[in-house]
């Protein structure tokens, strides 16, 4: 299909919208579906069909609207009203109000800081378009960036824009994306690959899932542009088997993109060819690590191998391979459309652009947010997130999942960017933010993450395999009130050793949750050890006594 034909689809779609601006959008992302939004959508369809708006007000399923804790969410156009906690019984009332005053009882203010403080780049279409219709995406400037890249830019120019944007890998480590792309592009090889890491494994993180469920075409477009830039003609999306909805929508998106000639040969009527295949993960956190992910796509056990050589030099099937995560690819189309400088104008000196966070735990507005880099933790948690519920006291926010750490109150005014988080003993990670109040025990939290790392360790290298098991045993001993101060010293020794000697990132970062809680909440460890009591009342200290200890 030629660029002109694509543009025509987009303008037809826009024109159709203009002719009939009335529309009801129901959030059909995983969160709202779990709160029964499916039934709400059906009820709305029935209410429309049985009333004066019959055939005049389409009811569309859209992607994530963000405020998951108040789902199911429904929005109306043209008024732009947002309804929360909608039940099927509310359908008639909502349909009746499409052209009149809003149903106040159900209304969720768009003026909430939760919405006002957000900036949509990755999530610009999320909750706006139907993720199962490529026409919706095209009407929202979709694939304009790809056409622009293919017809107006040389691969090196595409990489130049990505470099100028200052975009850093959103999977956790924050490696400069432009640099990665140019390394792959420069590698001498016949074949190169592009991999999208959608094996979002951090517990408490669902950013990638949401992007895939809400705007899958955006990820495909980012990957195709990457393929063009680095000279690859094949891409893989490695997605968690635990995300069936995301998989289904990706499959639909790939099929539709192929149908319009956006995947396959002669993309956009040029010589460029690119194909994308899905590969399902099978429940192994370690496969988020690049070399383990590659081993898994090759059909083997997901065990990492020492680097160098880096995947950019020798990756999938031995060929130079570009691996970025979902959010990184999702940033690419707007960067190409608006230019790298536009993107670099957002964020901080060393962390450009925006970041998507999954805000969960003991916080009022749980859900998905996108804010500029550099916003303070206090703003994110207490303004955007609405603070800690039930009048309880904020204790810590956990970022970066099992590789991250717990950040205490004294750092709340710290700007959120890669470097500040690292300085505070945590990491940006993929974007999970779990807020904890005074009812959480930080030793128990450390034990929780160590259990995670122990059972997710691939077992290849000794420090991670046996070290995490020893550390877990020590943490359990502390929680049960059976530990002595020597055990704490041994735990710290092990943290240092496992961090410095493990083969891959999983082991190297496994001690982080322990180290950060030891750094800021050492008194809680000491209370368990010396007074045999858990200040938060979570651990059953002294309940389990082993003979001879």
């Amino acid at each position: 299909m030629t660029p002109e034909q694509l543009e025509q689809i987009a303008s037809e779609e826009t024109a159709a919208r203009a002719r009939n601006p009335r529309r009801l959008s129901v959030c059909m992302a995983a969160g709202c579906i779990s709160s029964n939004s499916d039934a709400v959508k059906k009820a709305l369809e029935r209410a429309v069909a049985g009333g004066p708006l019959k055939d005049a007000c389409p009811v569309t399923g859209v992607g994530c609207m963000g405020l998951c804790s108040r789902g199911p969410l429904v929005s109306t156009e043209p008024a732009g009203v947002l309804y929360q906690n909608v039940t099927p019984e509310d359908a008639g009332e909502i349909v009746g109000a499409v052209s009149g005053p809003a149903v106040e009882r159900l209304q969720c203010s768009r003026e909430l800081p939760f919405f006002k403080r957000q900036v949509g780049v990755v999530l610009e279409n999320s909750g706006q378009i139907n993720p199962e219709r490529i026409e919706d995406y095209l009407a929202a400037k979709g694939y304009a960036a790809l056409v622009q890249a293919l017809t107006e830019m040389r691969p090196a120019e595409v990489i130049e824009q990505v470099s100028r944007s200052g975009l850093r890998g959103r999977g956790g480590a924050g490696y400069p994306t432009g640099l990665k792309w140019s390394t792959v592009a420069k590698a001498r090889a016949e074949t190169r690959y592009v991999i999208c890491n959608a094996d979002e494994g951090d517990p408490g993180a669902f950013m990638d899932r949401s992007v895939l469920e809400s705007d899958p075409q955006r990820v495909l477009e980012g990957m195709i542009i990457a393929g063009y830039a680095v000279g690859a003609s094949r891409g893989y999306i490695y997605v968690r088997a635990e995300y069936p909805l995301a998989i289904a929508r990706l499959n639909t998106a790939i099929r539709q993109a192929k149908h319009l000639g956006l995947l396959g040969s002669q993309i956009g009527n040029t010589e460029f060819a690119f194909d994308i295949e899905l590969r399902l993960g099978a429940g192994a956190f370690v496969c988020g690590e690049e070399t383990a992910l590659i081993a898994s796509i090759e059909g083997g056990r997901g065990t990492p191998r020492p680097r160098p050589p880096y995947p950019a030099q020798a990756g999938l099937f031995g060929a130079p391979t570009l691996i970025n995560n979902v959010e990184t690819f999702a940033n690419i189309p707007p960067i190409i459309r608006n230019g790298g400088d536009w993107y670099a104008a957002m964020g901080t000196q060393r962390s450009k652009g925006t970041k998507v966070f999954a805000l969960t735990g003991k916080i009022n507005c749980t859900g998905l947010i996108e804010v500029p880099m550099g916003m303070s933790l206090r703003e994110i948690i207490f303004e955007v997130g609405g603070g800690v519920p039930e009048g309880r006291k904020f204790k810590a926010v956990q970022t970066g999942g099992p590789s991250g750490g717990c950040i205490p109150e004294q750092f709340l005014d710290m700007p959120v960017d890669y470097d500040s988080l690292a300085q505070a003993g945590s990491i940006m990670g993929s974007g999970g933010m779990i807020v904890m109040d005074d009812s959480s025990c930080m030793v128990d939290v450390a034990k929780y993450f160590m259990e995670f790392c122990m059972s997710e360790s691939c077992g290849k290298c000794i420090p991670c395999r046996a070290g995490t098991a020893q550390m877990y045993d020590l943490l359990a001993k502390i929680c049960e009130g059976r530990a002595a101060l020597d055990d704490l010293a041994m735990l710290e020794d092990l943290c240092d050793m496992v961090k410095n000697t493990s083969l891959c990132g999983l082991g190297q970062s496994a001690p982080n949750p322990v180290l950060s809680t030891l750094r800021y909440f050492r008194d809680e460890y000491l209370a368990h050890i010396q007074e045999k009591k858990c200040p938060a009342g979570v651990c059953a200290c002294g309940m389990k006594q082993e003979a001879g200890s």
Binding site: L280, G300, T360, G361, I434
Partner: protein
């Protein structure tokens, strides 16, 4: 291409093996398709057993021990048949700090089995998940893939009771 390529015979006459064979064919009987094929087997039969692993390994020319190594490396694959119903407790961080351990204890106690086990009558399996991504509705559990949001012990018992034969 060796002559035996794709010629290993399926363990039984069951029609579902045709779906498995189709997956392998789609990938040109490439060794790289081992995980994809195991996904299809598990989707079709609910679990992986020895005969199925042997069939897949031979068809794709993957060493038997490698196939077994892969099948046991990934926790999504199960070598035991699941119960008629499956209850998956999410142990993601958000669920954990909002009471998932208590939910797990509750379900283990009321069914008399541990996580990863199936009741003796094969009726209910209890599993745990690392994170199902419904953190904003924590704590959650999946009852036969249906997400139950903001779950408490009472509701948990109610849900389980619905599965019990009347």
């Amino acid at each position: 291409m060796p002559p035996t390529l794709g010629k290993a015979s399926p363990p039984s006459e069951d029609k579902r093996w045709k779906i498995v064979a189709a997956t392998m064919r789609r990938h040109g009987f490439s060794r790289n398709a081992l995980i994809e094929t195991l996904h299809t087997v598990q989707q079709s039969f609910g679990f992986l057993d020895r005969p199925s692993l042997e069939y897949v390994a031979q068809s794709l020319r993957v060493p038997l021990s490698k196939a077994f190594g892969v099948a046991t490396f990934y926790h999504f694959f199960s070598l035991k048949p699941p119960g008629d119903h499956t209850c998956v407790i999410c142990l993601g961080t958000a669920c954990y700090i909002k009471g998932a351990p208590q939910l797990l204890a509750e379900v283990e106690q009321s069914l008399g089995i541990k996580q990863g086990e199936t009741t003796a009558d094969g009726h209910v399996s209890v599993l745990t998940a690392r994170c199902v991504g419904s953190c904003s509705l924590a704590p959650v559990a999946l009852f036969d893939s249906e997400v139950a949001p903001r779950l408490n012990a009472v509701e948990m018992r109610g849900r389980l009771a619905r599965w019990m034969p009347s």
